[in-house]
Symmetry: C2
Subunit: 206 residues, 2 copies
Amino acid sequence: MEFSSKLLENAVYEMSQLPGIGKRTALRLVLHLLRQPETQTQHLVKALGTLREDVKFCKKCHSISDVEICDICSNPNRIQDIVCVVEDIRDVMAIESTGQYRGLYHVLGGKISPMDGIGPQDLKIHTLVEKVKSGQVNELIFALSATMEGDTTNFYIYKQLEGVEVKIATIARGIGVNDELEYADEVTLGRSIINRIPFENALKSS
Amino acid sequence: MEFSSKLLENAVYEMSQLPGIGKRTALRLVLHLLRQPETQTQHLVKALGTLREDVKFCKKCHSISDVEICDICSNPNRIQDIVCVVEDIRDVMAIESTGQYRGLYHVLGGKISPMDGIGPQDLKIHTLVEKVKSGQVNELIFALSATMEGDTTNFYIYKQLEGVEVKIATIARGIGVNDELEYADEVTLGRSIINRIPFENALKSS
C-alpha cells in the first residue's frame, strides 16, 4: 500500500497491530475517524490512554477493577471458599451472565503455551497456589478452554496442589443446550457420553 | 455486558463506535492492548491523535496529504487536464496501484446519500464544478461505485456541468478479469454486453 501521507500511514500501521485487523480494515477505520467529528477521536484516544495508564487489577482475583479489591471479591454474599479459575476477564463476564455461580474467581491472565512463549511464571498461578495452601479454598473449579493449552494449565496447577486438601473440579464438557447431535464433533460427543450424569440430576439443573 | 471497571467499559464503548466493531470485538481489542507493553497503546493513541489534529487535505484534489498540494497534483509529469472523480483516498490508492492512470484526481469525500443525510453541499462538488468551468479540465472520469448513490452523484455532477465543454466518461463496468460468466450477476453481465468493445481494442488493452 502506497500512502500519500506519513501521518495516515502511521495511524494505519498502529491500528493494524491489533489482532484481526489487517491493513485494509485499519485504513477503513482510520478514514472513518477522519470523517467523524474530531471529538470522537479525542474520546477514543482518551479512553484508551486512561485505561492503559490507570488500569488496576484486583489484589485478590487479578481481574480488572477500578478499586483495590473488586466488587466480586469484596461481596460478603458470595461463597468465599469456592474459586473458579479462568483465563481472563471475559470468562468472568461470561460466567457472571449465567447467574449460576455464587463463588469467587481467580484470573490467570492466560494459559500455559510454550508455542507463544508463555510459561507458568507469566501467569498468576503462584498466588492461586498460595491461596489454596493457606486453607482459604474448599473447592477449585477449572474453567479454562478445552484446548491443549487449557488442559496443560489445568494439569500444571493440579500437580502444584498435590498433597493439599482441596476439591478440584472442571466445568462439564458436552453437547451444548439446543445443539444437534449430528453436528457435534466426535471428541465432544465422546466426552459427553463418558461423563454422563444421572437423569435425575439433569432434571434438577434444567 | 456487565463490566467490573468503568475505565474498561468506557474504552470498550469508544472502540465499539468504530464501524464493524461490536462490543465483543472491542473488548477483545482492548484486552489485547492491556496484555501488550504500554508503549503499543501509547503509539496507537499518539498516531490517531496526531493524524486527527494535523491532517491536511490537498487544496487541489482534497486527498489526504501532509503538504498543501499533494504529490500527485504537484507532479508535472501527470496529465493535467484529465481528472478522475473518486469517493475517497482508498479509491485513489486502488487506481494508483494499477499503474494505468496518469491524470489527476478529485476526491469528493463521499457520495450523495439522502438516507445518510449526505447532500451535494457536504461533498467537494462545488470546487470540482469550478475547476471544470475555469477550463482547466478536458476530460472527467467518474470512478464512483456502481450503486444508487454513486449513480446519483454522477448524474448530479453531470447536470451541474450542462453546457460546459468537457468530455465526461465513466469507468467500464463488466465481468472482472478471470471471473466466470456463470457467477456474474445479471445486471453486470447485461451491462458488459451493452457496452461491448471492439475486439481489437480489447487486444490492445490486455
